[in-house]
Each structure stands twice: as structure tokens, then as C-alpha cells.
Symmetry: C2
Subunit: 320 residues, 2 copies
């Protein structure tokens, strides 16, 4: 069980440490990356020795974030000495990959996930924060540091990516006001969004092929898209594709079938109100009410039939 601490106590703790490693979670997103790099800059300003680490590649869409080239990728079997390991935006320890073996130091976890597993020695948790970036902003305010444009940019990226540019339900007045402060400080919203929105040529060439497979079911309440194993490439991110069928008038449930191996189909579901996590559970998957997924060890066509028959049943039951 972690010792839960406040923002002020976090700063008190940090003051006493000299050599600090800050780690981002694997599958690094804008929040873990921006928060880590902003905190690193603040701690360097107060004279700490700081190393930022992540056991993963940082995606090309985040390469513009200031300081991203300072990330150290840990090598298995190597020991990285530190007085304190700060884990940013990871609700469980497995999210930091091999860093848990490579760094033997007390852990401070800064997080905003309600599902946090309390694995750290010290935990500053604010499950009301839209992004950890918002917490870092709060922390920097009480530290004797000067806000810089790079720090502001990192925090801004953290916030806008985690609340989907103020479109998700976790968007709060407070996170919008922090973003406003950062724009006032000099962050250029259009420059950041240009970078965040950028897609690779490969992604944009794959998109129409996947969208061309769109089919409608259950009186157009269900829309599906699919990616066959022939087209599947693990280096081409298809994460955003599900939002296309999701945002069609009248569609209640959008489903993407991705044949990641010849007889392994990964399924993502998004709904407007139907609890798709229940259907995911039938196939040993999980998730949230409006966003869930599962994997069926069958070729795409078969997996699609199995899942669709369940979904169509649920959607028709809803209409009654």
C-alpha cells in the first residue's frame, strides 16, 4: 500500500532527493511524455540530476515534444542507480516494463487513474485531473522554478492529448483554464495541433482501404470496418480508424476487426450508449461501457460472425 501524499508533500519529498529517474509508461502517449519531460526540466532547474527513461519507442507523432531526444531506453540486465524513481501516469507497475528491474529505488507515482493499484512507496493521485499534465502544472506553481516555453509546451501536449482536445468526458473547467494559462504564456495552439494531428503517409494510404470495407447491420445501427491480415502492418497505427464508423449519424455501435495473425482477430468496439464491455466479456475481453475490445482466435470472417450475432442481439434488444 502506498503512502498517499499531496502536491505540497510531493515537493517536500523531491527537495530531499538528488539523483532522480523519471519513467514514462510503455506505449507512451502525450500525457506520460509531456508530463515526464516538463517535470524533468523543472527538477533540473532546482539542481537535481535527472534521467528520463522509457522502455519503448516514442511514436513519431510525439517526436516534436521538446526534450524527447533525452529519453534513455533501459537495457536489460543493467542497473541504473538513483535515489528516487518517479513513475508518471502509470496505474500499475507492469506499465514501466523492464525499468522495474533496472532501477532499484523508492518509487514516487504521480497518477490520475482511479484504477491505480497503489504499488508505489509514495503516491500522489488525483483522479479528478483530466491529465497528469494538469498535476505537473500545479506542482511547478509551488516549486521555485521559472516556467519556460518548452515546459509549457510539454504540459499543453499532455493535457490536450489526454482529454482529446477537450472533447472527452474527462474535460474539466480546470484543465481548460490551465490550457488557457499556457496559451497566454506563449504556447501556439495551432502549432501544437499541427504536430499532434500529423499522420504518416502509410497510415493515410491504409485508411481508405479499411474504410472501403464499411458495412452496416441492424437497420444501420451497427457499422463495421475490417483490416485483413494481408493489409495488417504492426508499424502502421490504426488506432484512430474506429472513430470513422463511430461518428456516423444513426450508428449506435462501431466495430473494427483486425486480423493480426491468420487466425487471430483483434476487435475494438465503440458505442454511443450500449454497454459493449458486456459483449467483450463474452469473448474474454474487457474495457469500459462505451469502449471495449476482445481477441477471438479465429480468422476474421468467423470472428466477425460470432461477435456480430451477439452485438446485433443487444442492439435489437435496446430498441425494444
Amino acid at each position: 500500500m502506498s503512502k498517499e501524499i499531496s502536491c505540497e508533500e510531493t515537493w517536500e519529498l523531491l527537495k530531499t532527493q538528488k539523483n532522480i529517474i523519471i519513467v514514462s509508461h510503455i506505449g507512451p502517449d502525450g500525457d506520460t511524455t509531456g508530463s515526464t519531460l516538463a517535470l524533468a526540466e523543472a527538477l533540473k532547474q532546482v539542481g537535481k540530476n535527472v534521467t528520463v527513461m522509457v522502455d519503448d519507442k516514442v511514436g513519431s507523432h510525439l517526436q516534436f515534444v521538446p526534450g524527447v531526444d533525452s529519453y534513455v531506453r533501459p537495457k536489460a540486465g543493467t542497473n541504473y542507480p538513483a535515489d528516487l524513481l518517479i513513475v508518471v501516469d502509470a496505474s500499475s507497475l507492469d506499465r514501466i516494463g523492464i525499468v522495474q528491474e533496472c532501477v532499484k529505488a523508492p518509487i514516487l507515482n504521480i497518477d490520475h487513474h482511479i484504477s491505480n493499484t497503489h504499488y508505489a512507496d509514495y503516491l500522489w493521485l488525483n483522479d479528478k485531473a483530466s491529465a497528469v499534465g494538469q498535476m505537473i502544472y500545479e506542482l511547478v506553481q509551488i516549486m521555485p522554478v521559472k516556467m519556460t516555453l518548452t515546459m509549457a509546451t510539454c504540459i499543453y501536449v499532455a493535457i490536450v492529448t489526454d482529454c482529446g482536445y477537450f472533447k472527452y468526458s474527462n474535460t474539466t473547467p480546470n484543465c481548460m483554464r490551465v490550457a488557457a494559462d499556457l496559451v497566454e504564456f506563449g504556447v501556439e495552439p495551432n502549432v501544437i495541433s499541427d504536430n499532434v494531428e500529423m499522420k504518416s503517409k502509410a497510415v493515410m494510404e491504409l485508411l481508405p482501404k479499411v474504410l472501403a470495407t464499411m458495412q452496416f447491420w441492424a437497420e444501420n445501427k451497427v457499422a463495421t470496418i475490417e483490416l485483413s491480415n494481408e493489409l495488417y502492418d504492426e508499424d502502421v497505427s490504426t488506432e484512430s480508424f474506429i472513430s470513422y464508423p463511430r461518428y456516423i449519424e444513426g450508428v449506435e455501435v462501431a466495430i473494427m476487426f483486425k486480423e493480426v495473425e491468420k487466425a487471430v482477430t483483434r476487435i475494438s468496439m465503440r458505442s454511443r450508449s450500449l454497454d459493449v464491455s458486456k459483449v467483450a466479456l463474452l469473448f474474454q475481453g474487457g474495457g469500459h461501457q462505451k469502449a471495449a475490445g476482445c481477441t477471438i482466435n479465429k480468422p476474421l470472417a468467423e470472428a466477425k460472425n460470432l461477435l456480430l450475432s451477439e452485438i446485433i442481439k443487444e442492439v435489437r434488444a435496446m430498441a425494444c
Copy 2:
């Protein structure tokens, strides 16, 4: 020349009028629609007789805006009596269509376009406002009215649509703070964005066909998409399609060719930095540095050759 007035003077003027028509501009967007409907509700609260009018259809993506069904579409040859005509978000009088013939009353223009032509009797212009919605918020604050959830929703829609969900360069700290106030009041950001993002089935079925035409030129610095006359349907909005080639890594200029008639090709251009309005001008078009367009009276293939040769010249000159 208009008499320029402030927010306070606008309210002083409104106080003295009883029968008011508020008009949105043709090709109604979220700002003109949300601002008109919020202002109408506020004026009704203080006992005014208010009619909202627009000489156009309001698109299906705005049908969720509270009060949108109260719009009157003017009939040519009919006279609509009023003490005051308020024109919202239109920088020139032709933007209100036949309303200029149907309503003979002094005009108050509430606008934020720097290009405003000063056609109205009274003009409240704030070219620093990200959206007219932000000005309506300011006005409502000084009026003796109670903010309601419908009013807040209308203003929120106006703001987020005109600053592209805080992604455009016109995004200011102030517009973000107004949006934060509205969320605090009870506007649900995810519910609004769900509605704003919604596309018709026809749009989503056309998108992959258009994206499948994507071609790259000038060392991948130029990306083009096209819509042949066979696929063209004036009822299917293709406005957002240009953003797909625009947001590809390395692409400097994105161009969409739309064959609206057999020998008439409408062209939209977006750039990261190149001044595409100069190229548009060569073909009697116009626009802004990073967003411009023109129409070439030729079939698509010919128009494309003509335009591309100019664009490629400019892009190559840039690289030198």
C-alpha cells in the same frame, strides 16, 4: 460607414427596441447559428419579440443546437416588419441573402471579422474575438438575464466550431476561459463534440473513394485528392476532406480537385507555410496564405495539370 459601438452600447441600443429580427449568414456555421440562438433566448428573457431568420438550410450537423427549429426561412417578396435587424457574424451584407430585401429596418451588426465592410447602421466589432459566441457571452453577462443550459450550449457550439476545437491560430486564452465557464455551468463537452463530429452515412461512404485517389508530387511535398463529376453530389459535404492530405508528415501543400460540373473544377488548397493564395490568384481565385481556392473552367484532369505545374514550381522554389 457604420457607427461603431461597444458591448455596453449594444445593450443600450437593444433596450430601446421591441420587435427584433436576428439573422444568421448563409452557409450557416456553428458560430452564426449558436450566437443567433443564444442572443434570441437572452432577448426573449427581457421581453422582446424575437424572430430568428436565415436564407438557407441549416446543415444536419447543427440540428442538435437548441432552438434551431425556430429559424424562419424568408420568402422572396414578403416583408417582415421589425424595429431592428441584428446581423450576426456576417462581414458583408450579401451574406444574409434575400433578408436584405425582406427586412427594412436599421441594422445592428455583431461581428469579429477584420474584413468587415461596415455596411450596418450600428457595428459592434471585436476582431480579437475567436468567435462571435465569445462576444454574445460578454453581452449576456451585462444583460439582466439568467444564463440557461440551452444558452450556454449555443455559445459553446459557437466557440468550439469557430476555433476548430481550440486547434486554430485564432484560439485565445479568453475563448478557452469562456468555454471553461460554460462547462462549469453544465455544458457536457463530450455530448457537444459527439454531435459536432457526426457525419452522414453518405459522407463516410464517399470519403474512402476520394482518399483512394490520393497522389503525391514534388518529392511527397504535395498531396492531391480528387472528386470526379460522377461522384460529385452537392448534398454531400466534402468540406473536411482536404484535412486528410493536409495532415500527412512531410506534406507542405494539400489540394482537392472537385469537378462540380463536366468542365468546371473547384480547387481547395491548404499549406503549412507556402502562400497558396498567390497561386489561387493566378486562376482568379483567392483566400488566405494557408487556405485558398479557385475555380478553373476545365475538366478535372486539365485543371489539375494547370494548377499542379504552378504549385510544384512554388514548392521547389521554397526548397531552394
